[in-house]
């Protein structure tokens, strides 16, 4: 290396570290020291470097060395998660988009995946964030999310509406849209962006390539890859935004983006301004000599854009005029742009965010006013100033609050009469709470990954409801609406709402049992109050009955089981009377079917805290089955009714299994499995159906285990866990699905058993870890707790088989400790007691096995321990027998255990003789 080269390298290395502004002075100083020749060389290098950077020249290696990563590139013709890949349609910095065939629904979809070699934490986070954002957005002008998930090897993906068309600039050019047509098209884009803003999402990368216009002239917004939830903007460090600048397209970036200042909705207003400028004039707003980062940054922050009407008359030949946006017919007519449109576009393009339009809606509204010949706002320059200030001050992460602001903001500022304002506010808040809790929940509930968003909606909705309740008085229609809102809330928080159709499916919920109880209690209090005011109103009676039903449903999860029975009995006479008066009423049939189903569960389903009344359970389950079959027969295409019937079969299987009628149980499970497979086929993106299918696979697996078909069982368990894992990956906040996932792993562990000890242990530990987390978060959930204890029981049994007797003792003790809490809290909980009896029995058996191996004093100790444990087990079984809660399958248990105790006594007698 020559000395000269070394000096140039050294200078370059130091200059490149500096901000562009300080480079100048640094180099000027060096020039006086070293002479201008060397420094000029460095300057040229810096310039070329910036240009290379701006053009992404050799930025990324042609290849990646991460050879261990699976190559993510999907191939044409390949099957991927039930879709058939047609080909790659787009490739971005972090993701790839494929066109694929959705055979089930005979439609084309777009599938977005992360490039496998780019699975860094940051990119995964951004990918998740895009998915979350899309799940929350449903708008005709936004490409819709159909499904999100992860492949079995953990590659996240999502499936979206495939939008066929042209980028908006090309479309406008090729169709030679008039100014009016262009403005109308642009307003449709605005409506999508404005909708996103109402959902607190800022797109941040609005440009023609991300707005595709279909044949039907419908623009669709794509690529929320760098979009941001507004409330997250606070947490963002400035340097992250700085790096984002490189990710996004600089020409459409706003001054605040370039400078790394906070991003608000005003950022999208700006980008839309650039877009409109380009659509109207065929040019970009800034004159650039070179496309280097510095040049662009400078122009965006300093250059005042030329008026659109002046720009169209300018001579051609500027470098920023891109071939594809050049108007076909040469110079455009400046006349329609002069005045209003000049003002509108320039207002959107102001350097200071607070001087632009306060919202995209205002921007779009001004265009409408222009189209209709009304005076526009852009002339009164500062009207929106206060509004955007308000947004800035209140960058709260609260959906409802911001929504209120966005929908009412103008009203609050403008209305002068205090009383009118209050009244209007009340009604608006009521409407808002309604849409937050009902419309949005319904819209997003079935989408994977929506739990966190729903949680936030609930929290905010609840605040508003509580305030409204205080002001409701005795307005029964408002009271009923309020009660309905609380019930909805209950369903989201942790219950299963009785809503009539397909309600037996477990809708995904947030695992907050206590919160759900509170909401349902509030609802019940209101319903009882309304009933007192209008005792003869059929709807009021029905609603009260359903509320009892909902309350009972909540107690199913928390125990004790006599509570749900109590509530079910309160609801039953009303519903039966209403149905008797109107026997063809399918809604009532459906509710009653739900009620019988719930009754059957708490009476004797081993899957929940129950009263151990197997006979009663079978009776009600059969009633539910016949109502359900009626509904399916009259609605053969309804997936919901079919799903309900599947759940009833599942329950029957569960009860029969519990009473030892294995082949009958298997028959019902298999019927349910067939139904679930049909459902998933009929609606592949419905997570409830996939979840039910997995549950059924698990049930059939359990039956096959009991009946001795080990390999069949293993196969079913494996399939189940694959589905659960995918569901958990899609929505890690859904507590129920995680519970099922853990049960799946437990089954898998037991099925693998001693054929592969390490694998079996890993499955058990995974299950235990999930249960520990679930119980940590929701300490009141009896089911989570019992499942946790039961997993220790399964582990202990495995350890016994694997000849790790000391481990088996430890696990059994752990399980006992966990389960005893439940039994103490609710002594009537048969399933918790049954689990405890089994745990004690297992502990006894393990000590007995240890005794057989030990010698001397140790041996005596072990026999004593075994006897003690067996005795506890026997006590529980005998008490259950006395109370009539011992299930058929366990009828022989007391005698079995008594024999074991006799064996212990005999052994102890021998050792004492010595």
């Amino acid at each position: 290396m020559s000395d000269r080269e070394a000096i140039v390298d050294e200078l370059f290395g130091r200059a490149i570290e500096l901000e562009p502004a300080s480079r100048e002075s640094f180099l000027a100083a060096e020039a006086t020291r070293l002479g201008p020749g060397l420094v000029d060389e460095v300057k040229a290098l810096l310039n070329d470097h910036d240009e290379a950077e701006a053009n992404s020249f050799l930025r990324r290696p042609l290849i990646s060395t991460e050879a261990n990563e699976p190559t993510p590139t999907l191939k044409a013709g390949q099957e991927f998660e039930g879709y058939q890949i047609v080909g790659l349609i787009a490739e971005g910095g972090m993701g790839e988009v494929y066109l694929a065939e959705d055979k089930g629904l005979a439609r084309q979809v777009a599938i977005k995946v992360i490039k496998g070699n780019l699975k860094t934490k940051e990119i995964l986070r951004r990918f998740q964030s895009e998915r979350q954002i899309l799940a929350n957005l449903q708008h005709p002008n936004i490409a819709q999310l159909f499904e999100a998930g992860a492949t079995p090897d953990g590659l996240p993906f999502f499936v979206m509406e495939f939008v066929e068309g042209q980028p908006i600039d090309k479309f406008a050019n090729e169709h030679e849209l008039s100014v009016t047509e262009t403005l109308k098209l642009f307003r449709a884009v605005c409506s999508a962006v404005s909708y996103a803003h109402q959902n607190l999402v800022v797109h941040r990368d609005l440009k023609p390539g991300n707005i595709i216009v279909t044949k039907e002239r419908e623009p669709k917004l794509l690529d929320f890859g760098i979009a941001k939830l507004l409330h997250e903007a606070d947490a963002e460090q400035p340097d992250v935004t700085a790096t984002l600048f490189r990710v996004m397209t600089p020409e459409y970036a706003s001054p605040e983006q370039v400078k790394g200042e906070p991003i608000t909705t005003a950022t999208d207003v700006y980008s839309l301004g650039v877009l409109l400028y380009e659509l109207l004039t065929g040019r970009r707003p800034y004159k650039l000599k070179r496309r280097t980062t510095d040049e662009i940054t400078k122009a965006i922050c300093e250059q005042e854009p030329e008026k659109p009407s002046a720009a169209v008359t300018r001579e051609h030949g500027d470098t920023e005029t891109r071939g594809e946006t050049k108007p076909k017919s040469g110079i455009r007519n400046p006349k329609p742009l002069r005045g209003d449109l000049d003002n509108i576009v320039l207002k959107a393009l102001r350097k200071e965010p607070e001087r632009r339009y306060g919202s995209v809606e205002q921007f779009s509204e001004d265009i409408r006013r222009h189209l209709e010949g009304l005076p526009i706002l852009a002339r009164k320059a500062t009207l929106s100033y206060r509004t955007s200030k308000f947004i800035k001050r209140n960058k709260i992460g609260v959906a409802a609050a911001a929504l209120i602001f966005l929908t009412l903001g103008g009203g609050i500022v403008a209305t002068t009469i205090e009383a009118r304002r209050a009244n209007r506010r009340f009604n608006d808040v009521r409407r808002l709470a309604h849409s937050v809790l009902f419309d949005y929940q319904d819209a997003i509930a079935a989408l994977p990954g929506s739990t966190a968003v729903r949680q936030r909606l609930v929290r905010d909705g609840l605040d508003y409801l509580d305030n409204l309740s205080k002001e409701a008085g005795s307005d029964t229609s408002l009271l009923r609406e309020l009660a309905g809102a609380y019930e909805k809330l209950m369903a989201v928080q942790g219950g299963t709402a009785a809503t009539g159709r397909g309600t037996l499916l477990s809708t995904s919920n947030l695992g907050d049992t206590r919160g759900a109880m509170e909401s349902e209690r509030k609802a019940l209090a209101i319903r009882e109050r309304v009933f007192a005011l209008e005792p003869n109103n059929k709807d009021v009676r029905k609603e009260l009955a359903l509320c009892y039903l909902g309350m009972g449903g909540l107690y199913v999860a928390t125990g004790p089981p006599d509570k749900p029975v109590e509530y079910a009995r309160k609801a039953m006479p009303t519903l039966e009377a209403l149905l008797a008066a109107d026997p063809r009423n399918e809604e009532l049939q459906s509710y009653l079917s739900d009620l019988y189903f719930g009754m059957a569960r708490v009476l004797g389903s081993p899957g929940v805290p129950n009263l151990g009344d197997t006979q009663g359970a079978l009776e009600y389950a059969t009633k539910a089955q016949s109502l359900s079959e009626k509904l399916v027969a009259s609605h053969p295409t309804s997936l919901d009714y079919r799903a309900t019937l599947g759940s009833v079969h599942n329950l029957l299987g569960l009860i029969l299994n519990g009473s030892g009628k294995l082949s009958e149980a298997l028959e019902h499970y298999q019927k349910a499995l067939v139904i679930d497979q049909e459902l998933v086929k009929g609606d592949p993106i419905n997570t409830s159906y996939r979840r039910e299918l997995a549950i059924q696979l698990g049930n059939v697996g359990s039956m096959l285990t009991k009946m001795g078909d080990k390999s069949g069982a293993l196969e079913n368990f494996k399939q189940a866990v694959v589905i659960y894992d995918a569901l958990v990956a899609a929505d890690p906040n859904d507590a129920d699905i995680r519970r099922n996932d853990a049960v799946g792993y437990r089954n898998l562990g037991a099925a693998v058993g001693t054929s592969n000890r390490a694998e079996a242990l890993a499955h058990f530990h995974k299950a235990l870890q999930i249960f520990a987390e679930l119980n940590g978060k929701d300490t009141n959930n009896a089911d989570f707790r019992r499942q946790w204890a039961f997993t220790y029981l399964a582990l202990s049994r495995f350890q016994s088989q694997a000849d790790d007797l000391n481990g088996a003792v430890d696990s059994a003790l752990q399980g006992i400790k966990i389960d005893e809490v439940l039994v103490a809290a609710s002594p009537t909980n048969a399933s918790a007691r049954n689990t405890l009896a089994q745990l004690d029995g297992q502990l006894g058996a393990t000590h007995a096995a240890l005794a057989a191996r030990a010698g001397g004093a140790r041996q005596t100790e072990q026999w004593h321990a075994a006897k003690e444990a067996y005795q506890k087990s026997l006590d529980i079984y005998q008490d259950m027998k006395t109370k009539g809660t011992l299930s058929g399958a366990d009828a022989g248990k007391p005698d079995e255990i008594a024999k074991e105790i006799a064996r212990c006594d005999a052994a102890l007698a021998v050792s004492e003789k010595r």
Binding site: M1, I16, D48, L58, L62, I63, T65, A67, T71
Partner: protein, 200 residues
């Protein structure tokens, strides 16, 4: 899929390490032959996107080579250096053939402006890049090597430091980073000037 016999590769590497210079030739030939075969396979079912194909090719090559993980870092670094070099040859050859085919088939000259071309094609003209790299190698061999390792070998600056120091050239990571920046600037300049002179 063609198979690279890792054991043989390892043996040649060890020999090379023990000072047998001819082993490097064997090694290079071995890897080259294999990659070239892969390239041929790809060409047969060529799609329009050359870069994508080339990338896929190299991915697969690396997938095969990762069986060499048990080697100590020095051997691995050496080998990766070799692979990067080979990769460059294979890809450039491939690009050259591709270009020849295009011309032979009477490919249409794209009518986009010069600036537009530079912008629109994120993929670099590999043949021109190869020539520019030769020029850089005359001026500054280390910078050319750094680019080769980064762009064709997919190595990070840190890994490049390892490879270079395995070859007894000790440099800091900062130097490597600066080398890369300067090299990119120069290569970009030359490729741009080249384009301007041929298209105007």
């Amino acid at each position: 899929m063609a198979e690279l016999p890792p054991r043989t590769v390892t043996q040649w590497l060890l020999k090379w390490h023990e000072g047998d210079q001819s082993a490097l030739n064997e090694l290079t030939e071995l890897v080259y032959a294999d990659l070239h075969r892969l390239a041929q396979n790809y060409q047969r079912n060529e799609r329009s996107d050359h870069t994508l194909q080339a990338t896929a090719l190299v991915h697969e090559a690396y997938l095969q080579l990762h069986g060499l993980q048990h080697l100590d870092w020095k051997s691995r670094s050496h080998f990766i250096g070799v692979v990067a070099q080979v990769m460059r040859h294979v890809l450039v050859d491939h690009a050259r053939e591709h270009a020849a085919q295009k011309r032979g088939g009477g490919a249409i000259n794209l009518s986009l402006s010069r600036a537009e071309r530079v912008l629109a094609e994120s993929a670099v003209d590999l043949v021109a890049l190869d020539e520019a790299l030769e020029r850089l190698a005359n001026e500054s061999p280390r910078k050319a090597k750094v680019v080769e390792l980064h762009y064709f070998g997919g190595l990070s600056a840190k890994e490049i430091v390892e490879v270079l120091s395995a070859g007894e050239t000790s440099v800091s990571q900062r130097t490597v980073e600066s080398d890369l920046q300067i090299a990119r600037a120069k290569l970009h300049r030359w490729l741009r000037d080249e384009k301007e002179s041929t298209h105007e």
